[in-house]
Symmetry: C2
Amino acid sequence: MDERQARAWLATAVDEARAGLAEGGIPIGAALYAPDGTLLGRGHNRRVQDDDPSAHAETAAFRAAGRQRSYRGTTMVTTLSPCWYCSGLVRQFGISRVVIGEAATFHGGHDWLAGHGVEIVLLQDPECVAMMRAFVKDHPLLWKEDIGD
Amino acid sequence: MDERQARAWLATAVDEARAGLAEGGIPIGAALYAPDGTLLGRGHNRRVQDDDPSAHAETAAFRAAGRQRSYRGTTMVTTLSPCWYCSGLVRQFGISRVVIGEAATFHGGHDWLAGHGVEIVLLQDPECVAMMRAFVKDHPLLWKEDIGD
């Protein structure tokens, strides 16, 4: 896909991550886009805010998009490489593409997704890296809790 | 693990599946048990009831259990073989064991989990099979929607 388009969509996920951070949460954001570029849903990690371990950024965006008959051609945009839980979501529902802000601070299941035909666009965005790096440094236990480490 | 124990735990998941069916939903139930046998959380698929595509039985039970520091030694009990989304949840959070009511009507990611060290107890329970078979026959599109087919 066009990198300018990918970066524009990433900005939505980054806004979500920043909103999560401002709420005292884990700064990971995501958004789900339709094949025609319509924003279907956006969200951020809500482990701290809602005491909800199931609310990862990608699952929050997926939930916010509501019920869809098909995910063919959709794109999940996320500030961070998707963990196995969120990678499993992408594979199960046939989401076609994942745009990833960075995979330097955490390497999830995106190679596995690529091997199963999902288009992966890895941006290595410096702001995403800096936001996660600072968070993990300041809240190592919370971060480990969020990835079951 | 002891099969009698597994079947006793499965009964909790079956109760959840029946509750979902009674609400007009997809009859899949799950429960998360602590290493000492304490019930941490239980839930059922809520796609129809809440218009929530992210509420699979296993994720509902996981959510109901609240934040946990570790999932080591825990058991996820589910009436149906876990889809990739729910299998990813099990792998990411290090849930140690999955007790499965049946894998005859749907074969999800439990072999993958076994290959990654998760203990799989597959019961092939006739009631679980009958409940899903009847549901899929009566609501084929809803079932396909739930697994992104």
